[in-house]
């Protein structure tokens, strides 16, 4: 009897896990490699992509996947991919792609960087890119990353331009190098508009601690901020909620959060991930792939500030112009990189 109950329980457990999977199912995509109808003059470029999660995640992975589909339309490449590859097992997937004759392997997460460095030397004829990567140890590795501050710089410019209290705030999840660089970018942007502006900085220490995020921002509001940039994962939602309650403005990041609170979020400092996929493919298609670390920014479309259309219409031309001018300066490389100690 007990045995029966146990086996039923086990069945139930697996059913639940099944349903869980089914729930995560992404929009069905067509088979990746299709038999080409017409003989192409040149062999199409074969691209293999490794994702950490589902291509239907509505965020990082999905935008990478969309870039792939677009590259297929625009450049005629062939691609296939493998989802939900844990870092620990990603080396084998890369090797599989290499054995299967792929020209370019895109490891679409910076966590794959070390593994790419390990695998790439085994396949000198295969090219590797790491999205948001940080190091290139071989000629056939391109680590493609973003400035990490262009978008927050523009957010700082915007914040200073619209602030009436002349106090603004910025919140990150971590106090890591990247977190600090993002915040310093914001500070520099704000000061470039109004040298006297006061910028309050804080970090939650977690991507999920919504309560702490709310507390921190509430503290800032007490001190008089009227604009807040939050780039801290799920904490963002708590921050935006607090901002809404206090009637101050918020800037979202790293994706477009205007729809979360259309009356509060004035713009979003975005870092679309598609560009990391696209960049390597384009380089290869144009036959000028080189190893190395590529830092992309506003100019390449790796970062941007997206308006909430409602506010864009509302703000004065002066505000819009100030932001656009900053964007131009960034594109031209006229702004100095923030110094992080």
């Amino acid at each position: 009897m007990k045995k029966k109950i146990i086996s039923l329980l086990l069945v139930a457990m697996f059913l639940v896990s099944l349903v869980g999977c089914a729930g995560a199912e992404e929009p069905a995509e067509e088979p990746a490699v299709e038999e080409n109808v017409e003989e192409p003059a040149v062999e199409p470029i074969k691209v293999g992509v490794i994702f950490t999660g589902s291509i239907g995640d509505g965020a990082w992975n999905e935008s990478g996947y969309n870039a792939l589909v677009k590259a297929k339309e625009d450049l005629g490449i062939e691609f296939s991919f493998q989802e939900s590859v844990p870092v620990a097992e990603s080396g084998e997937v890369m090797r599989n792609f290499a054995y299967e004759g792929y020209d370019l392997i895109i490891a679409h997460d910076f966590n794959y960087n070390d593994i790419v460095s390990e695998v790439a030397p085994e396949f000198p004829d295969v090219l590797f890119t790491v999205s948001y990567g940080y190091q290139s140890t071989e000629d056939n590795i391109a680590a493609i990353t973003s400035s990490g501050w262009h978008a927050s710089y523009m957010a700082g410019v915007l914040a200073a331009a619209v602030s009436e209290t002349e106090i603004v705030g910025v919140l990150s999840a971590t106090d890591s190098f990247m977190g600090k660089r993002m915040r310093t970018g914001f500070v520099n942007g704000a000061k470039s508009v109004n040298p006297d502006i006061e910028v309050l900085e804080a970090f939650t220490g977690s991507w999920d601690d919504v309560v702490k995020g709310k507390e921190l921002v509430n503290g800032m509001i007490q001190q008089g901020i009227d604009v807040i940039l939050s780039n801290s994962g799920n904490v963002n939602f708590g921050v935006i909620e607090t901002a809404k309650e206090a009637g101050i403005m918020a800037i979202g990041a790293p994706s477009d959060l205007s729809s979360v609170a259309p009356d509060t979020v004035i713009a979003s400092a975005v870092t679309p991930s598609g560009i990391y996929v696209d960049y390597g493919i384009r380089q290869l298609a144009e036959d000028n792939f080189d190893g190395g670390v590529y830092v992309l920014g506003i100019k390449e479309g790796a970062e941007d500030l997206i308006w909430n259309p409602a506010f864009e219409a509302e703000f004065s031309a002066e505000v819009i112009d100030t932001v656009n001018a900053a964007k131009l300066q960034l594109s031209n490389g006229e702004i100095e990189e923030p110094v992080v100690e």
């Binding site: 697996f14 493998q82 870092v87 084998e92």
Partner: protein, 355 residues
């Protein structure tokens, strides 16, 4: 007399293999139907599944590499099952076993390789046991059902090791949250040129044999089985059931920990934050399918390894969505659990008699 013995047990064995095989076939048919619903030719997908896992040297290597922790997970589950301890916490014990091997592998240095490896594996066994004993303690002290505690301990274990890797164990030279690599002396040597197959495979085979021998051939195994089959009668025969349950738990935790250790020393070399291996969960299904017999479980663990590796190939080649690959495995497990129920009834019928 003996001709009857062997003919009956042979018939039962044949029935078991047949029913299990049938369940797997049915599961694959159902899986194929799902694949077809996704608009993909299931035959092509299946071809890639098997050729991906077994068609190339590299594929075989990958499959065998995955087989190692899976097989140990099945042994772990089966041994605990013998004394009716439902250890569904193997995933966590594997994680802790990995942690043990990692700590010794990274922070103990200057040892000759064989000693270093053995030390690492000892640590992984001990860590696995300790982790299971938390559930054991809760059961014996407070009567907490191990089905619940071990499941929770899985999540705690994975969370714990991630936190460690993100803080004190974090590789200072790395930008991402991962531990350092284990020292070269702690690495299990590869045993198949050009693949990831490592010496752990040999360890796993030896351990599988030892477990078989222990359970079916030694007085200790006799006690273990007696307690599992009728603990009251075992007690009346002078066996201490509580002691045997504890022994079963210790072996179970140790085997799971060892699986984690072998995988870490032979394959992963480090722990990356966010890693979820899943061998513990799959191992439960594979153990049921293998009917808790080491040989049967060797086959089922291999099948599960094939699905894992071939599943990737299916996605890369014909774009079978990842959740479907996962679902296939789930269907196999369910089919096999259902078939296990039939097998039990059938065996009962084939051997039962009057009073």
């Amino acid at each position: 007399m003996s001709s009857f013995d062997s003919s009956l047990s042979r018939r039962i064995l044949r029935m078991r293999i047949l029913v299990t095989g049938l369940a797997v076939v049915v599961a694959f048919l159902l899986g194929s139907a799902l694949v077809a619903l996704a608009g993909i030719n299931p035959l092509t997908a299946l071809r890639y599944l098997f050729s991906g896992a077994l068609g190339t040297r590299h594929g075989i290597g990958e499959t065998l590499t995955r087989f190692i922790p899976l097989f140990l997970a099945t042994l772990s589950f089966a041994i605990a099952m013998k004394v009716h301890f439902y250890n569904v916490g193997i995933e966590g014990q594997i994680a802790l076993g990995s942690l043990g091997a990692l700590l010794v592998g990274v922070y103990v240095t200057g040892l000759p390789a064989p000693i270093h490896i053995l030390l690492c594996l000892t640590a992984s066994v001990v860590f696995g046991i300790l982790w299971l004993s938390v559930a054991g303690f809760l059961r014996f002290r407070f009567g907490a059902n191990e089905l619940l505690t071990t499941v929770m301990l899985n999540y705690i274990a994975i969370y714990l090791i991630d936190i460690l890797v993100e803080t004190v164990l974090k590789d200072p030279n790395s930008l991402i949250n991962q531990s350092q690599k284990i020292a070269a002396t702690a690495k299990l040597p590869r045993i198949m040129e050009g693949t990831t197959v490592h010496l752990g495979l040999v360890f796993a085979a030896i351990v599988g044999f030892i477990v078989y021998y222990y359970v079916w051939r030694t007085p200790g195994g006799f006690e273990l089985r007696a307690v599992g089959a009728n603990s009251k009668a075992a007690k009346y025969a002078g066996i201490n059931p509580a002691k045997l349950i504890i022994i079963g738990m210790i072996i179970s935790g140790g085997l799971a920990g060892l699986g984690g250790g072998l995988n870490l020393l032979g394959y992963q070399s480090r722990w990356v934050s966010g890693t979820f291996l899943g061998y513990g969960f799959d191992g439960i299904g594979a153990a049921v399918m293998g009917q808790y017999h080491p040989l049967g479980m060797a086959f089922s663990a291999l099948l599960f390894a094939i699905i894992r590796v071939g599943g990737g190939a299916m996605q890369r080649s014909v774009g079978v969505p990842y959740p479907l690959v996962h679902a296939l495995q789930g269907i196999v497990i369910i089919a096999v659990i259902i078939s296990a129920y039939f097998i039990e009834k059938r065996t009962e019928k084939m051997t039962k008699g009057g009073q």
